[in-house]
């Protein structure tokens, strides 16, 4: 069973400089009870992808083509109220910035109460459930923490509270947009372990976004590699990390600082720049930076299946 199936999704923003195609033909799946990681540099369209799934694209953005299938429902065709009913109930989100993600003038308990407004529980039942969730994410003294305000908690605690809120309605899919980027290394590890634990307990799927390859390798079952609004490669974590097939994935893994065997002064970086998404090249999106470019790269490459579920958008994928 797959919880989420995205097929050939395209998203365009209208900007002053013309249409900006932020996502081109994005396809991947999130199977039940699995953690799928999305990696990619800043600006590659990770947040745009999430917003498209949630139906929260900015006013100047639109989905022009493709499908987002969630638990058998086509989200691109869903009405706004129906979509709202899914958010927070079946699909929940944890955002990057724990400092700004909670409302500063409402107590944590009140915010947790509001999230359950559709549950039909009495106020006392909602509050009991909130306290249980706070305990589950290891907030000390949850009965009292419940009445406090976000600014009274540390960054790590706030992120755990955000996770508690997201999991409160036992969603089928948890989307985590760089949930640990703003935390320091020890907190990052603790938060990842907590997420893993809770995912097991609740039995939900997770879409985990990060540009930290180490975290992805540790946490995720599957990986989706994005570059400039396209999925250039996807497969199991083992496949992508051990035998990457797209030249971009290969370079990305080479560049990961954690992989450098010895301390070098100059980290390897990929030469060249991401193309302007308003003037997207006709052919392969990575061609201008690729050291294996051939004439055929001027055509849009197909998604090449290279073995058990591993797919790369490169004509040379099988040869690499």
């Amino acid at each position: 069973m797959t919880v989420l199936t995205i097929k050939d999704l395209n998203v365009t923003f209208s900007t002053e400089g013309g249409d900006l195609r932020a996502l081109r033909d994005v396809s991947f799946e999130v199977p039940e009870r699995r953690i799928v990681g999305i990696v990619g540099e800043s600006g590659c369209g990770k947040s745009t992808l999430i917003n498209a799934i949630l139906g929260l694209l900015a006013d100047n953005g639109r989905i022009d083509g493709g499908s987002i299938l969630f638990e058998g429902q086509e989200l691109t065709a869903l009405s706004a109220p129906k979509m709202r009913d899914l958010r927070g109930q079946r699909i929940s989100t944890v955002f990057q910035d724990p400092m700004g993600a909670l409302n500063p003038v409402l107590s944590v308990g009140r915010q947790m109460q509001n999230i359950q407004y559709r549950s039909g529980l009495s106020r006392a039942e909602k509050d009991a459930r909130s306290v249980d969730m706070l305990r589950l994410v290891r907030i000390p003294d949850p009965e009292h923490a419940w009445a406090r305000y976000p600014h009274e908690f540390s960054g790590g605690m706030k992120q755990r509270i955000a996770i508690a809120m997201a999991l409160m309605m036992e969603p089928a899919l948890l989307i985590a947009d760089e949930p640990t980027t703003a935390l320091d290394a020890t907190l990052e590890v603790a938060t990842i372990e907590l997420l893993q634990d809770l995912q097991q307990q609740i039995g939900c799927s997770v879409l985990f976004i990060s540009h930290h390859l180490g975290v992805i390798a540790e946490l995720c079952d599957d990986v989706v590699v994005m570059y400039a609004g396209e999925v250039v490669e996807r497969g199991t974590t083992r496949q992508v990390f051990n035998t990457p097939r797209h030249p971009y994935s290969i370079r990305l893994l080479e560049c990961d600082p954690a992989r450098q065997a010895e301390r070098t002064r100059n980290l390897p970086t990929i030469p060249g720049e991401i193309p302007d998404l308003r003037r997207r090249p006709q052919g392969c999106i990575f061609a201008n930076r690729c050291d294996r470019k051939v004439a055929a790269c001027d055509e849009l490459p197909p998604d090449v299946a290279v073995g058990d579920g591993q797919v790369a958008r490169c004509i040379l994928a099988e040869a690499v």
């Binding site: 949630l54 929260l56 709202r84 009913d85 899914l86 958010r87 927070g88 109930q89 929940s92 989100t93 955002f95 910035d97 700004g100 993600a101 909670l102 409302n103 500063p104 003038v105 409402l106 107590s107 509001n114 999230i115 407004y117 559709r118 305000y149 600014h151 009274e152 955000a162 809120m165």
Partner: protein
């Protein structure tokens, strides 16, 4: 919250003391002999000398200030010239009328300004937003005495819907409220514009905040997001602005009281200046200053009550 209130109150006491010092220096530096002014041109030198001693003007300046300062803090603002009644008593008689006028002005500006600003922000870029924008600038630009005169001409004189002058029958609350409508509109109308603009701007800012995005991602109803999650934050700068704006409202109150022939501190000061009743002017100005500081203090306490971050900073 207690610590916050205590500190804020201490600050208020310091501000009032400084205001007293400034007021005293002003009276002291104004050229001319207060005793001569009080007694008029036909008084003899002996009479003036006697009054100077009675008023303490023969003392060194710092003693004079100390006397003024301690008397003022105990509520003794001296006696007024014409009837020799205590200034504090005369001012306190008029104060309720002015307080009612200010409260009315604030009610108008809050009751109209906050919903209009909120509405404009939610419908940003639409026709209603533009109309609210233009109207806001228009009412800000019109001076309050012009509003007072036109309101009087239109609603009282031409349409005869509302009474033109006075503060209403003493003891008859309904009548007093009816008499309050036009003058308080004159005081508050400009503030409707200020507040609408302010609320719109801070609403737009808050609606962009990450926590609003989170609230949407939790599928909360749009009404709850607008009023409970965004507006409660967006009105905070408005409350502070109103606290400071009380000063401006007090000066509009002077015009409103004159145009509508209402009793009040503004009218009192106006009459006192015309009759050169200086102790009354000083006393009324001092009471107004204390009123301003107090209302400002209340505004800050309201912000503290609404915003847990402010509370914990103290």
């Amino acid at each position: 919250m207690l610590m916050y209130s205590v500190k804020r109150l201490g600050l208020a006491v310091i501000i009032v003391s400084l205001a007293m010092l400034m007021l005293f220096s002003m009276i002291y530096l104004i050229p001319g002999d207060p005793a001569a002014v009080a007694l008029g041109p036909r008084a003899t030198e002996a009479m003036r000398e006697a009054l100077r001693i009675k008023m303490g003007l023969d003392q060194p300046v710092w003693v004079q200030f100390w006397n003024f300062f301690t008397n003022a803090w105990t509520g003794d603002l001296g006696n007024e010239v014409l009837s020799d009644r205590p200034v504090a008593e005369v001012v306190m008689e008029q104060l309720p009328y002015t307080l009612a006028l200010i409260a009315g002005g604030i009610s108008w500006s809050v009751a109209l300004g906050i919903p209009l600003g909120c509405w404009a922000a939610v419908k940003r870029g639409s026709m209603p937003d533009r109309i609210v924008g233009i109207l806001s600038v228009a009412v800000i630009a019109v001076p309050s005495f012009v509003v007072a005169i036109y309101a009087l001409l239109i609603f009282a004189v031409t349409l005869r819907w509302l009474p033109a002058i006075g503060a209403g029958e003493p003891g008859d609350l309904g009548d007093q409220l009816v008499h309050l409508i036009l003058p308080s509109l004159a005081v508050g109308l400009g503030w409707v514009g200020y507040i609408a603009r302010m609320v719109r701007a801070s609403m737009l800012e808050v609606l962009e905040a990450q926590h609003i995005r989170t609230a949407r991602a939790f599928g909360l109803p749009e009404n709850m997001i607008t009023y409970r999650y965004a507006l409660t934050i967006a009105i905070l700068p408005t409350v502070t602005l109103l606290g400071v704006g009380i000063g401006q409202m007090l000066s509009s109150a002077v015009f409103a009281e004159i145009v509508f022939a209402r009793p009040g501190v503004g009218k009192l000061v106006y009459d006192a200046i015309l009759t050169r009743n200086y102790p009354l002017v000083t006393g009324a100005v001092l009471v107004t200053t204390v009123l301003f500081v107090l209302l400002n203090l209340i505004a800050d306490l309201i912000v503290g009550a609404l915003d847990p971050r402010v509370r914990s900073r103290f």
